[in-house]
């Protein structure tokens, strides 16, 4: 099966600009997660979709971040306007609906805000 794919793999933008990250989960996976790793820190949870519904967005840093999953397939994470502290690697992961299903991660989008 195809894995989780993320686009772009790298993005360099200036402070104040907008960036949209895309994640295509494994087909059939209802659960979709966004995580972020800031340099020197651990990977941190941002939010969780079940199909098209936001199940938990308690990890979203602030209202400059907007995640969507229209139709319950791919998801986008938009940062507008980007700030310097938003730099990091953004990972998407998906899993089956069954409890305790392991997460399948994409290779991440490395975002650099200058």
């Amino acid at each position: 099966e195809a894995g989780v794919t993320q686009f772009p793999s790298h993005s360099v933008i200036e402070k104040g600009q907008t960036v949209t990250l895309r994640c295509d989960p494994i087909s059939g996976h209802d659960n979709l997660y966004w995580y972020r790793r800031v340099m020197g820190k651990e990977i941190k949870f941002l939010l969780h979709f079940v199909k098209e519904s936001k199940q938990d967005e308690s990890g979203m840093p602030n209202n400059r971040f907007l995640a969507e999953r229209t139709g319950g397939t791919y998801s986008t994470l938009k940062v507008q306007p980007a700030e310097l502290e938003d730099s990091g690697v953004y990972f998407c992961a998906s899993s089956h609906r069954a409890p305790n299903s392991p997460l399948h991660f994409g290779n991440g989008t490395r975002l650099t805000v200058t």
């Binding site: 989780v4 997660y33 995580y35 820190k41 651990e42 990977i43 941190k44 949870f45 941002l46 939010l47 969780h48 199940q55 938990d56 308690s58 990890g59 990972f91 992961a93 305790n100 392991p102 997460l103 399948h104 991660f105 994409g106 290779n107 991440g108």
Partner: protein, 114 residues
């Protein structure tokens, strides 16, 4: 505050020996604990899951133990090989509610020397 600690930032092991990685946590009541492997520029890859009522789990050369009294998990790689060199992450899923996502440690960088 809640905290996950993984032993040392880098662990050097001679090929053929057993590598033992530690994951300690405080102020959590995890429903289960997972171990992931991460290679440079890639997303984490799931290895093993152990539930709170399980003491030990094995998969080929990998073994995980879980001691909820000590609040510690040990991850062992027997007959280690240079190809096992990577960063290993432990992650907890809380029981009784809380954020849907996993909480990750910073990871231990394992180097297996030929």
């Amino acid at each position: 505050s809640q905290k996950i600690e993984q032993n040392s930032e880098a662990l050097n092991i001679q090929e053929g020996k057993t590598a033992t990685l530690t994951c300690n946590y405080t102020n959590y009541s995890p429903a289960y604990l997972q171990w992931y492997r991460q290679d440079p520029g890639r997303g984490p890859v799931f290895l093993l899951l152990i539930r709170e009522n399980e003491k030990e789990k094995r998969k080929e050369r990998l073994k995980v133990t879980f001691d909820t009294t000590l609040k510690q998990s040990l991850f062992h790689i027997t007959a280690s090989q240079p190809a096992d060199s990577a960063t290993y992450l432990c992650a907890l899923r809380l029981s009784g509610g809380g954020a849907d996502g996993l909480t990750f440690g910073k990871g231990t960088h394992l180097i297996i020397q030929p």
